[in-house]
C-alpha cells in the first residue's frame, strides 16, 4: 500500500494506457486524465483507434482532428481530447515538414496516403505515435502546452509493436526523415517521461495478457507503469463465511432468521438460491485472489478501481479519478 500523499509518476509526461479488450482501458485513461488535471493543470487525452471512444464516454459529439475541451477536473484543471486519425496525421505531417500543398492532395488521390496509413507495415503506428509525440513535446512561450498527455492506446496484444516504432520503420525506411522522426519518438517513449499502464480485470485471460505485455515492454526497453485492476468487487462475506459458502455449507437457519429480520420471505427457494449464489461468489473470490497474486509478482504498483454498477458517466469518472489519485496515481 502506498501512503496517501505519495505520487508515483512525478516527472512522467506521457501516460500510455493499454489493456485487453473489454477491461475498460478507455475509462481508466479518462479517469487518469481527470486525476492528473486536478488542481489547475492541463491534460490532453488522446485516442488512436478511430472509434470515437472519448466522445461516447464524455457524451459529446464526435471529436474532429483537433484538440477539444472535454471536461473540467476537480478543483480546476482542464482535460482536452484529441482523436488522431492516421489519414489526417499523414496529411498534417507532409504539410508540416514538406509544405506540399496541392501536391499533397495529388498524392492523396493517387492512393499514396491510403497506402501509408492502411497498408504499409508499421507506418500507421509511426504516424499515430508521432502525433502523440508532437503534442507531448509542444511548447508555447517556453512552457509545455500540456502538463501531461494520456494516450488511450491499442490493446495489450498490439501495444509493444505499436510503441516500438523504430523497429517498425527500420525494416522500411532505414534512413531519411521518417526514420529520424521515429527515433525521436522512440527516445521519448523509452525515457523516464513515459509510463505504460496496463488495465486488467481479475480474470485469467486479461491477467495473462497483462503479464505477457509487461514482459514484452520490458524486453523492448519501454518503461512499464502501474497495473490497474478494474471492476474490483466489494468484500461481502467474512473469510469464515466464504469458506462455508464454497462448500454450500452456510447455515440455512441463520439465513432464514436474517431474511425474516430483513422483512423478506424466508422460503426454502429463496434460501437455497442465496446459498448457490454464495458458492459461485466464493469460487470467483478464489479465482480473483489467484490472479491478484500473479499480478503482484510482476512487481509494479497496483491500483484498484471499484466496479461501477450503474454504468460509466462523468460522475463515475470523477469517482474513479479520485480513487486513482488516492492510491498515488496522480
Amino acid at each position: 500500500m502506498v501512503s496517501m500523499d505519495e505520487r508515483h509518476w512525478e516527472g512522467v509526461r506521457l501516460h500510455v494506457v493499454t489493456g485487453k479488450g473489454g477491461t475498460g482501458k478507455t475509462t481508466v485513461a479518462a479517469a487518469l486524465a481527470l486525476a492528473l488535471a486536478a488542481g489547475g493543470r492541463k491534460v490532453l487525452l488522446v485516442e488512436v483507434e478511430e472509434r470515437q471512444g472519448l466522445a461516447q464516454l464524455f457524451d459529446v459529439p464526435p471529436l474532429p482532428y483537433d484538440e477539444r475541451k472535454l471536461a473540467v477536473a476537480p478543483s480546476g484543471g482542464d482535460v482536452y481530447g484529441l482523436a488522431v486519425d492516421a489519414h489526417a496525421a499523414m496529411n498534417e505531417y507532409l504539410e508540416m515538414y514538406y509544405h506540399l500543398g496541392r501536391a499533397g492532395r495529388v498524392l492523396d488521390r493517387m492512393g499514396v496516403i491510403d497506402f501509408a496509413t492502411t497498408i504499409a507495415p508499421g507506418l500507421r503506428d509511426v504516424l499515430l505515435t508521432g502525433k502523440t509525440y508532437e503534442v507531448a513535446r509542444r511548447t508555447a512561450g517556453g512552457h509545455p502546452v500540456y502538463d501531461a498527455v494520456v494516450l488511450d492506446a491499442p490493446p495489450t496484444g498490439r501495444i509493444t509493436r505499436f510503441l516500438n516504432v523504430t523497429a517498425a520503420v527500420s525494416s522500411l525506411a532505414r534512413v531519411g526523415p521518417v526514420n529520424r522522426h521515429a527515433r525521436l519518438t522512440m527516445d521519448l517513449i523509452r525515457s523516464p517521461q513515459t509510463a505504460v499502464h496496463v488495465v486488467t480485470l481479475l480474470e485469467e485471460m486479461p491477467v495473462q495478457e497483462t503479464l505477457d505485455s509487461i514482459d514484452d515492454l520490458r524486453n523492448a526497453a519501454i518503461p512499464v507503469g502501474a497495473v490497474v485492476v478494474n471492476q474490483v468487487r466489494e468484500q461481502y462475506l467474512t473469510n469464515r463465511d466464504l469458506l462455508a459458502a464454497r462448500k454450500a455449507r452456510l447455515d440455512r437457519d441463520t439465513i432464514r432468521t436474517g431474511l425474516a429480520a430483513a422483512g423478506l420471505p424466508a422460503t426454502d427457494t429463496a434460501v437455497e438460491q442465496l446459498v448457490i449464489e454464495a458458492a459461485e461468489h466464493a469460487e470467483r473470490v478464489d479465482l480473483e485472489a489467484e490472479q491478484r497474486a500473479l499480478i503482484d509478482k510482476a512487481g509494479r504498483p497496483v491500483y484498484q478501481l471499484p466496479r461501477v454498477a450503474a454504468g460509466i458517466d462523468l460522475t463515475a469518472l470523477y469517482e474513479l479519478a479520485e480513487a486513482l489519485a488516492g492510491q498515488g496515481a496522480a
Binding site: K20, G111, P121, G176
Partner: protein
C-alpha cells in the same frame, strides 16, 4: 446450423475480448461430436485454450484434436494460422521458383508479410479458401483476427488486394503501363513527384525495395485481387454462416450491430448473435427492489451480517442481470430478425475440452 449438412463454413466475428476464439472452438467440438468432419482455424488463441486442443505449433497444418468423442463418425482437426507462411505459399504457388526466391528475400515483402496491417485478415481468408478447396472436411470453423474493428476482416483483404494490384504499385513498377494513354502524361508527372517525395521522406532505399518487389511480383498481378474477390464471394454463398459474438457491454454490442448491418448490406448469411458472459438472475428468488429494501433494513443492525452479505451479492447479480437484459433487448429491438444465443457468465475461463463441450451445449440450448 451445426447439424445442417448444407452449412460448410462458420465464421465467428466480433470485437476483441468477447470470446470469439472460444466460441469457434466450442462450435467445432460440438459439430465434430455430432458426427461432422470438422476443422477449426484459429488465429491467435490464448495459450491454455490452444494447449487444450493440442495446438502447440504455429505451422499451418491441421492436426487431429485428441479427446473428442468420435463415436458419431466425426472428427476434429485444429490449426493455428501462420500468416507469413501462408503469404509465402501464395507467392510460391504463383511465381517461378526463381521469382519466388527474389520476392521472399525482398525487405519490403518481408515487412509486408509479417505486419498486422491487413495481412492477417487477408491470409485468414486465403487459408479459408484453401481449406474449402481441399474439401476434406464437412465443416470449417474460422475464427477472425483481433482487429481494430470487426469489419476489418471483410475490408482488409480487399484493401490489400487492391493495393497490390492497384495503380499505385503499377506506377511504381512501370509508369508507362498504367492506365490508358490519356492518363499517361498525368501519371508521369505524378510519378516523378511521387518518386521525389517518397525518396525525400522515406529514403531511396525503400522505394527501390518496393520497385524490386513490384517488378518481381509482375507475374502475379491480378492474382491477389482475384483471390480476395473469390474468397469474398465464398463468404456470400448460403453454405456460409456468420456468427457474431459479443458480450453485454455497449461497445461490444455497438460493434456487433455494425457488423450485422454490414452483413445484411452485403447479402452475407448471418446465423445469429452469440451473447457471451450474460449474468443470469435465477428464477423464483427475491426481487431486486425487495432485496435492496432488505439490505437497508439490515444495514443499521449489528447481527445478521451473513444474510446482509448474501443479499448484497444477490442484489449485485440482479443489477448486472438487469443491465445485460436491457442491452440485449436494445440489440433485439434494432435487429429483430437476428436470433440471439445467450451464454451465461461462467466463474472461470474455459481451457479444456470439457469446458468447450459445456459451452457448445449452452450455445445450442
Amino acid at each position: 446450423m451445426l447439424g445442417d449438412p448444407r452449412i460448410r463454413i462458420v465464421v465467428t466475428c466480433g470485437s476483441g475480448g468477447v470470446g470469439k476464439t472460444t466460441t469457434a472452438a466450442a462450435l467445432a467440438v460440438r459439430a465434430a461430436e455430432q458426427g461432422r468432419r470438422t476443422v477449426v482455424l484459429t488465429i491467435d488463441p490464448a495459450r491454455r485454450l490452444a494447449n487444450s486442443m493440442g495446438l502447440t505449433e504455429l505451422d499451418n497444418t491441421p492436426r487431429e484434436v485428441n479427446g473428442v468423442d468420435v463415436s458419431a463418425g466425426g472428427r476434429l482437426d485444429a490449426m493455428m494460422l501462420d500468416m507469413k507462411r501462408t503469404f509465402d505459399e501464395v507467392v510460391e504457388s504463383h511465381a517461378t521458383p526463381e521469382r519466388a526466391r527474389q520476392i521472399l528475400a525482398n525487405p519490403f515483402y518481408q515487412a509486408l508479410s509479417s505486419s498486422f496491417a491487413g495481412t492477417q485478415e487477408y491470409m485468414a481468408m486465403e487459408k479459408l479458401g484453401q481449406l474449402r478447396q481441399r474439401d476434406d472436411w464437412d465443416l470449417i470453423v474460422v475464427d477472425t483476427p483481433p482487429s481494430r474493428s470487426a469489419l476489418d476482416f471483410l475490408d482488409a483483404p480487399e484493401r490489400l488486394g487492391s493495393f497490390l494490384d492497384g495503380r499505385l504499385i503499377r506506377l511504381l513498377s512501370a509508369p508507362a503501363r498504367a492506365g490508358g494513354r490519356a492518363y499517361l502524361r498525368v501519371f508521369s508527372v505524378g510519378m516523378s513527384m511521387l518518386t521525389s517525395v517518397a525518396t525525400r521522406i522515406l529514403g531511396g532505399e525503400l522505394l527501390r525495395d518496393v520497385q524490386t518487389f513490384v517488378s518481381a511480383l509482375d507475374t502475379m498481378f491480378g492474382g491477389f485481387r482475384e483471390r480476395a474477390d473469390e474468397t469474398y464471394a465464398l463468404l456470400k454463398r448460403p453454405e456460409t454462416a456468420f456468427v457474431v459474438v459479443a458480450i453485454p457491454q455497449p461497445d461490444a454490442l455497438r460493434e456487433a450491430s455494425y457488423f450485422v448491418e454490414r452483413l445484411e448490406a452485403d447479402g452475407m448469411p448471418l446465423s445469429g448473435l452469440v451473447l457471451n458472459r450474460v449474468h443470469a438472475s435465477g428464477a423464483g428468488g427475491i426481487s431486486e427492489d425487495e432485496t435492496r429494501a432488505g439490505v437497508e433494513r439490515l444495514a443499521s443492525r449489528r447481527e445478521h451480517r451473513l444474510t446482509a452479505g448474501l443479499l448484497r451479492i444477490h442484489a449485485e447479480r440482479l443489477t448486472l442481470a438487469g443491465q445485460d437484459q436491457r442491452l440485449a433487448e436494445r440489440f433485439t429491438a434494432a435487429h429483430p430478425l437476428v436470433p440471439v444465443a445467450r451464454v451465461p457468465a461462467l466463474a472461470g475461463d474455459i481451457h479444456d475440452l470439457a469446458g468447450l463441450r459445456h459451452m457448445g451445449q449452452l450455445l445450442i440450448d
